[in-house]
């Protein structure tokens, strides 16, 4: 991925990798693919991945983005890691509810709540 600007802002604190999106809308397939690859690299590099993905800058996403999140979830689960989602706009949260992905993902209203929930 030489030369491509990261689509993520990543900060590691207390063993938890905090991830925010650079883009306000996670729709573009090229961006979604890059996001997936970047997060996959983070997971691979961590023997005990604890990821918090914040949607605080996101006002739109697509089913392809949901698919990438599911893939991330599956990768973390395979490593017995932990994943939390936080700061999801109500309209986007509705997408998770309709697809019942609110039952698959551990979703918190705030980053603080999500961070407190990590084992």
């Amino acid at each position: 991925m030489a030369g491509k600007e990261s689509r993520l802002r990543v900060r590691k604190e207390g063993g938890i990798t905090n991830i925010e999106f650079v883009d306000r809308n996670i729709l573009d397939e090229a961006n979604i693919q890059q996001i997936g690859e970047e997060i996959a690299s983070l997971i691979e590099a961590d023997p005990n991945p604890k990821l918090l993905i914040s949607f605080s800058n996101v006002d739109h996403l697509s089913s392809a983005a949901l698919g990438t999140l599911i893939t991330i979830h599956n990768k973390i689960k395979a490593k017995r890691g932990q994943l939390r989602l936080a700061n999801i706009d109500p309209q986007i949260y509705e997408v998770f509810v309709i697809t019942k992905l609110n039952k698959l993902f551990d979703i918190h209203e705030t980053s603080q709540s999500a961070i407190a929930s990590f084992a």
């Binding site: 397939e29 089913s63 698919g67 893939t71 309209q91 997408v95 309709i98 697809t99 019942k100 698959l104």
Partner: protein
Amino acid sequence: MPEANPPRNEACVTLDEDTSLYRRIEAEILAALERAEFPKEAIFAVRLALEEAVTNALRHGAAGLPNPRVTLSWRVEPTRVTIVVEDPGPGFNPDAVPDPTAPDRIHLPSGRGIMLMRAFMTRVEFTPPGNRVIMTLDRPSASQPHQRTM
């Protein structure tokens, strides 16, 4: 001096895999919705359903064709927005698409597009053989929030 490209409330365009063209058309549709003062929830719904329909048409309907192209028609009226997406493929049976919320499918990364289209638009109709979808969204009234079809 006349405006070079006056804002449109309807159009019919041909899309290919060039996402920048799609984004320009999407922006045009959303701008028309904003001019017509559709609420932000409706604009969100149209944006999502439109993305899903076009992605499905290009990725599935036009897949395998040498120059995949789909036709997108749209019209914004005071109380309704209509979007039609058509691909040159053989079609499919939308009723045969598996339920993506089923326990054995919830972990799969794909298969949610049609569900989201139906959830967020007022009406979604596939014209046989299934390579044309007509989606409408009626402006929600103040006393009756947007009723979703599930």
